[in-house]
Amino acid sequence: MAEIAAEASAPRPLQDAVIGPRRPPLLAVGPVAWAKTNLFSSWLSTAVTLALGYLIIRWAMGFIDWAFVNAIWSVPVTNGQAQTQACRALNGTGACWAVVTEKHRFMLFGTYPYEEHWRPALCVLLFIGLYIVSAMRRFWRKELALIWIGTLALIGLLMWGGVFGLSYVPQERWGGLVITLILSTFGIALAFPLSILVALGRRSRLPAIKTLCILYVELIRGVPLISLLFMASVMFPLFLPEGINIDKLLRAQVAIILFAAAYLAEVVRGGLQALPRGQYEAADALGLGFWQKTGFIILPQALRLVIPPLVNTFIGMFKDTSLVLIIGIFDLLTAGKTAIVEPAWQGFGIEIYVTIGLIYFIFCFAMSRYSQGLEAELNQHRVR
């Protein structure tokens, strides 16, 4: 015992002499080493880096000159006519953002009455709020459906007006970003339930229902969206009894819903197939009926499996609503294209398209980042 105590109290000369971990040589860590392994690992890699670096710097300088240094942000307006000579004099060396400054209200809200622009603006904010709420997992419950119905009804009320002192605005005067958001949001909200029914039908054991669903999905997926939109704009009026006329926006909306549902149905079917058979059998063993089995056991799991591809399809649909340009519906892209029809602004398409591209990019990029994050989160149990 004494020996041990003595040993413990004895000074330990070695402890002071313990050598701390030595820093690795500077060239093995830090930015230099990173550059060496990632940019200059071989002759070929070095050559690629230098060539690309040169091209990027040149292109970026050219772009900055065009977009900022030489750009014109506003032009004088005399007698309601924009004087664009200054922009024309640039001859392509600088951007004429004046066209965006001048036309941004038109691009965002179309021909909606000018003093009522706060209404579509509020609708755009409501849509964005709706997307954000739907993206948060804590709101993923039944009440979300009620929130959707309530918000969409409120948006309809704001757009049309006619009650609560809001002046009535006919649908022909709606336009711009809000039309893009209406077409894509209503399109997805109504196509999604339809797609679930079709996907279930396609996996059904009842031959007639299965055949109908296969026919529907394959026919729609085999033709371009444009042909459906043409059908909606040209043939749809023939389909209805005489005297009944549905406006163009609603017809295009129906075409988009039918189109989106076919694609979404294939994604949902993927989820249904990926679910292990044991889940179906276990639900059968519990004595659940078809709708109970589907609603409580199958769909909650199957849909969770396919959230990332679902979001990708949503992105595709959001982009595809721009096709209504071809049948002359006033969405964001059509409004932009119309803005440069005016003689004063002809030839400034690039500035307009860059701006519209930025708006689309913000929405799609947010969705795609969200889907990547969600995929990582939902797959956590698979990563060890």
């Binding site: 940019l39 690629v48 690309l52 033709v223 009894p241 005489e242 892209l333």
Partner: protein, 400 residues
């Protein structure tokens, strides 16, 4: 064994096959549901058809395909086969189909090459190259194709007039009238030489197969390339030389306000092709990347351990496995590109949609016009799917 046979549960009679008249009977329920759904669908269709026929009667539109043989009187700027406005609607529509195929086939080839290159660049060890590829993919995929087409078309229209055209290489002119390239004056000898090339390629494929079969039999590798070179390059050259080796360049030259001669790529076609290829390539790049990443690292290492060279590892080990992952999504990208080519109507390239649309506006035959568009795309989609399914079945993993 006899114990289980005596099990009373197994002695019970099997359930009856017939249908009971009760809602609890699954078969009866199935039949009722099907009758209900089919009945609803058929009655909706019948309602639409009867409305349509009534409306057509009221508007005095005669349905039928008679208009196809009438004179079209619609000018088409770009045509692969001979066409002028006095030809029939049928021929105009055929020109439209060929224009669609022209942009789809070339677009698919270019998008595959370009997309594969970007996909490989995305996997590069060079950080800068990989980041540029990733940025390209992300940006292109987040912008609507129609917007991109309009953007490219606006840029091409903003190019200088022919007199001030850009002239990067002798004989190549880029102006707001499109791209002008030097070409050769096509003669019969060239067509025969082209046939010789096709024959040479077919013969080479058969020769390579025979050589492979022999190698399988006796284990001796045989050199294929000398004969292949002779067949593919020598045969067409021989035919061409045998027919007098005609050659005359067709170099575009500026005369007055426009160009004469040479091969023209119109701004509409150029913008459409550029937009479609760049858009689809971004999707193909992701597919190629996923395909290559799906091959486990161990496959490379095992092949290296066997002493195979890098090129052979890629060709014999990695590619066949990656292709299984790549082919099915690639098929849907090819289908998408073909269907997206219908956006041509927005920038004035006269494909089948554009010509059908003009036809239905001129003749009022809305139903026929849209039916033609749908039939054309359905048959193109079906052919591509059939071909890709056949190819996919050929390279699929054969299990047990």
């Amino acid at each position: 064994m006899s114990d289980t046979a005596a099990d009373p549960r197994l002695l019970r009679a099997p359930p009856k096959k017939g249908i009971r008249l009760s809602w609890a009977d699954e078969k009866l329920r199935g039949i009722v549901w099907q009758v209900l759904v089919v009945g609803v669908v058929v009655s909706i269709l019948w309602w639409l058809v009867s409305n349509t026929s009534h409306n057509l009667e009221v508007r005095r539109i005669a349905t039928g395909w008679g208009f196809l043989s009438r004179e079209a009187g619609l000018p088409i700027g770009e045509h692969v086969i001979d066409y002028n406005p006095t030809n029939t609607y049928a021929r105009a529509l055929l020109v439209g189909v060929l224009n669609t195929l022209k942009v789809a086939v070339i677009g698919i080839l270019l998008a595959t090459v370009f997309g594969t290159l970007i996909g490989i660049a995305r996997l590069s060890k060079n950080w800068l190259l990989s980041r540029i590829a990733a940025t390209y993919i992300e940006v292109i995929r987040d912008l609507p194709l129609l917007l991109q087409l309009l953007f490219w078309y606006a840029i091409l229209q903003g190019l200088p007039a022919p007199r001030q055209s850009l002239n990067p290489v002798t004989g190549v002119f880029l102006s707001n009238r499109g791209l002008k390239l030097p070409w050769i004056q096509w003669q019969d000898a060239h067509s025969f030489a082209l046939l010789g090339l096709v024959a040479g390629i077919v013969a080479t494929i058969f020769y390579a197969r025979a050589a492979r079969a022999k190698q399988m039999a006796d284990g001796q590798p045989r050199k294929v390339w000398p004969l292949a070179l002779g067949l593919i390059l020598g045969l067409p050259l021989l035919i061409w030389a045998g027919l007098g080796a005609p050659f005359a360049g067709d170099i575009p030259a500026l005369r007055g306000f426009n160009f004469q001669g040479g091969l023209t790529i119109t701004p509409e076609y150029f913008a459409l092709l550029l937009g479609l290829v760049m858009y689809t390539a971004a999707f193909i790049a992701e597919i190629v990347r996923a395909g290559i990443q799906s091959v486990a690292r161990g496959q490379w290492e095992a092949a290296e351990a066997l002493g195979l060279q890098r090129g052979r590892i890629m060709r014999l080990i990695v590619l066949p496995q990656a292709l299984r992952v790549i082919i099915p999504p690639m098929t849907s990208q090819y289908l998408n590109l073909t269907k997206n080519s219908s956006l041509a109507v927005a920038i004035g390239y006269q494909d089948i949609v554009s010509i059908s649309n003009t036809t239905l506006n001129q003749t009022g035959q809305a139903i026929e016009g849209i039916a033609i568009i749908m039939a054309v795309y359905l048959s193109i989609s079906l052919s591509i799917s059939l071909f890709m399914n056949w190819y996919n079945a050929r390279i699929a993993l054969v299990e047990r």
